[in-house]
Amino acid sequence: MELHNRLKVNTPNVVHETIDGETILLDLNTGNYYSLDGTGAVIWEFIDKTGNYEKAIEIMTAANSAESDIIDSTVKQFTEELLTEKLMVIAENEITSPDVTELEKKLKEIALNFKAPAVCKYTDMQDLLLLDPIHEVDEKGWPESRETQANE
């Protein structure tokens, strides 16, 4: 998939919220639920605000030049996945960039202790919503069921 430097969240089909370092997403058309970990959540927020994944790579590789190759390839792969899953789409109009100083700081921090960003996808929302969030989940909490953990 061709990457583009003008991306935006695929609203209104995709809704998202970042809480405590994790971004949770829901595609209301497909019912798929997604979770992005610390690195993924920061990159997601940065692209959401600026539309520019390359800028994110630039900031991160400048902060950690020793791992620039791995940062470059994994962030590109991550962005491709966001597009493949239709969580992000190419924006028709220019995105006016707000102040992202705080996010830039966060990108530098995650670059220094870089862990590849990952997209966790959960496909059966109907079953997930039936899952008891107290008794049927593992120590990470909903939507991780005890059963899934036992099968792994």
Binding site: P12, E17, I19, L26, G31, M125, V137, K140, G141
Partner: protein, 384 residues
């Protein structure tokens, strides 16, 4: 078996949980620790408290507090967020459908509170959606929804139903539940006109569709009155909803309007008790003059009968029983404009005739006297 009704006021454990959800600093921390020492999350959390857990997570995370319950609480937050997002999306579709037909809409309760007061999609778990339309468009709305795949289990297209019910529950093929209101409260029967509640409504957008919500004062009134109706489920969330409405920096409560509507709808006792609880137990910032003024208002005898009857029966009345007669009588008192003992009781017979769709007075009297006798005999037997 008849389910037991719960008080609208919380138990000690529930109050501690609410304080952990709503307050900050040491009070929050102490309440949370005490709640945890009394409650086992695996076994002791009843439904009313369960629904507060996403809000608890948010408040703990803001402070931030880290303990072994946090991952599971966060899971509850994620689940509630997902569930509510789906509901908001579906509500957007229903609103679009109604707007296509030129029907005015207003969203009530959970969705309105989430967007206006909590400003969060997760902390107010919801099971259904509440939409209100003007009384004059209620029939049109029900017909339009039925044409578009929504079903109701009750016959709604008669005048009696529209005048003596506040809403109807409709369900579609996806099992989505919609509470369609034309009155926000039972207490509006016979009083409400098309502009009441609509005149100060505020705009909001649900899933891309523009609609309205009650103004903060009306929302608070609805929250308190609805919350103080005992239920088989502990309805403690009225406390969180009210507290968030009162303390929100972005919302301005028109307290004069709250007093005016409380008087107009004969719900002064509920408002008095609700505000008193919030002030005494949560130090809710209610203007002193308003609070004192409300506490001094004397409710009428009819208001007291209605409130006490409501406390006894909640929303569940089983037929036939003496309790049922009392509840019907209380319903009548909500509607009547008759003054004086004789006039009121003749009015009651007329009301019953309308309710039973034209059965003659004699049959109605005989029926209810027989219920009274049976109920009396049963009580004597139980007593013996």
């Amino acid at each position: 078996m008849k389910p037991s009704l719960r008080s609208p006021f919380p138990t000690n454990e529930q109050e501690l949980l609410l304080k952990a959800c709503l307050l900050s600093g040491e009070l929050m921390q102490t309440s949370y620790n005490f709640w945890k020492s009394l409650v086992n999350i695996e076994t002791d959390v009843e439904h009313g408290s369960f629904r507060q857990l996403p809000l608890l997570y948010l408040n703990l995370n803001r402070h931030p507090i880290n303990d072994e319950l946090m991952p599971r609480l966060k899971g509850m937050y994620r689940k509630s967020w997902s569930n509510n997002q789906i509901l908001f999306f579906k509500m957007g579709q229903v609103l679009r459908l109604l707007h296509q037909k030129g029907i005015r809409t207003m969203v009530l309760k959970g969705v309105a509170l989430s967007l206006l007061a909590y400003k969060n999609f997760a902390v107010r778990p919801m099971a259904d959606m509440d939409i209100m339309v003007p009384v004059s468009q209620a029939n049109l709305t029900i017909d339009w929804l039925k044409q578009n795949g929504w079903k109701s289990s009750v016959e709604t297209n008669d005048e009696y139903y529209l005048n003596h019910s506040k809403s109807v529950t409709l369900i579609n093929d996806e099992n989505t539940e919609l509470d369609l209101h034309w009155y926000p409260l039972d207490e509006c029967f016979g009083i409400m006109h098309d502009e009441m509640f609509w005149d100060k409504a505020v705009t909001m957008t649900v899933s891309g569709e523009n609609t309205l919500a009650l103004c903060p004062a009306d929302e608070l009134l609805l929250t308190i009155v609805h919350g103080l109706m005992p239920n088989v489920e502990p309805p403690i969330r009225w406390i969180a909803d009210s507290y968030i409405l009162i303390t929100s920096k972005d919302l301005k409560i028109d307290w004069e309007r709250l007093v005016e509507y409380a008087k107009k709808l004969s719900v002064i006792i509920q408002v008095k008790e609700g505000l008193k609880y919030l002030k005494v137990n949560f130090s809710a910032p209610i203007p002193e003059d308003i609070y004192n003024r409300i506490q001094l208002i004397k409710p009428s005898l009819a208001d007291r009968i209605l409130y006490n009857q409501g406390k006894r029966r909640g929303v569940y009345v089983y037929h036939p029983s003496f309790e049922k007669i009392l509840s019907v009588y209380a319903d009548y008192l909500k509607n009547t404009t008759h003054k004086g003992m004789v006039s009121q009781h003749i009015g009651f017979l007329k009301f019953m005739r309308q309710r039973t769709k034209g059965k003659n007075y004699f049959r109605i009297l005989v029926y209810y006297l027989s219920v009274l006798l049976k109920s009396n005999r049963k009580q004597n037997k139980t007593g013996a």
